[in-house]
Point group: C2
Chain length 166, copies 2
């Protein structure tokens, strides 16, 4: 069976791959705490969170029953850092050439979902929360419907923005 | 053998645990792409990135040989989002009472390293980089020496800060 990067993500000039699939040799395991429900599929998903906000379309986090006690203390208006798992992206494209760039670049200098650990990061706003049912409405998200969630954290301005030097 | 949360992280009033250990039933795997080298151990680690910056002490990311091609395009002065794996924290404390709070709160409303997926997030500045050797010097970090790294991303102001409403 071809690896995902050999099909949907066909290599472009200058791209290179790891000689192994990171998914095949994990150092630790992640659990899915719930799923993102969004209006987006592969053909219309906004390419980043700014573009997602500009659509005016909200999204919903659905948290599995086991993890709902962890939502206590989240309130409407809170700014949240969501971490989600881009499960469909190949993990072995270590240098990539995005369509909007003229040459290939290392994956750690890109926000591509295709990376050794496909953890995406989105800073969103909590519109409403029903902790007992495990539902958080958020202002926007740049992920397909059904994308697994792995963490939610409070956004803290003083630690989540860089220092102002330079 | 006791789980970690039964020893170093003794339960406090109002805390509660999952009835399983997330580490024991992974949905997906992460790879360690390298390690953080820092001046910090369990007794003196700054509790967040702001406190780490205030010490004036820098830190270093050491990226494993297999992943170094992914560093191409990172330059001194760049702001980076680092994701790291707080491997020593228990993963089952779903409600926690931090010492500085008067009651227990859901883990997803806290920045505690003890969480179902112990992925910590730090926005740092690249001071210098030697991509061939896999070394990035950064301005500060709030993690023990030896903490595994799982991802590095460019920080993008427009997507990594919340909208200004509310």
């Amino acid at each position: 069976m071809p690896r995902p990067s050999e099909t949907r993500f066909a290599p472009r000039t200058g791209e290179s791959r790891l000689d192994f699939d990171p998914a095949a040799r994990p150092d630790a395991g992640v659990v899915f705490i719930g799923r993102i429900r969004s209006p987006w599929g592969i053909d219309d998903c906004p390419k980043n969170l700014r573009a997602a906000r500009e659509t005016g379309q909200g999204a919903r986090f659905e948290i599995d029953a086991a993890y709902r006690a962890g939502l206590e203390g989240i309130a409407p208006g809170d700014r949240l850092v969501a971490l989600y798992w881009m499960a469909e992206a190949p993990r072995d494209l270590i240098r990539q050439k995005p369509r909007h760039r003229d040459r290939a670049t290392g994956v750690f200098a890109l926000r591509s979902p295709a990376r050794p650990n496909p953890v995406a990061l989105g800073v969103v706003r909590c519109v409403s929360i029903d902790a007992a049912r495990g539902v958080i409405e958020v202002d926007a998200i740049d992920a397909f419907d059904g994308t697994p969630l792995i963490d939610i954290k409070p956004f803290v301005e003083a630690v989540d923005t860089p220092d102002s030097a330079g």
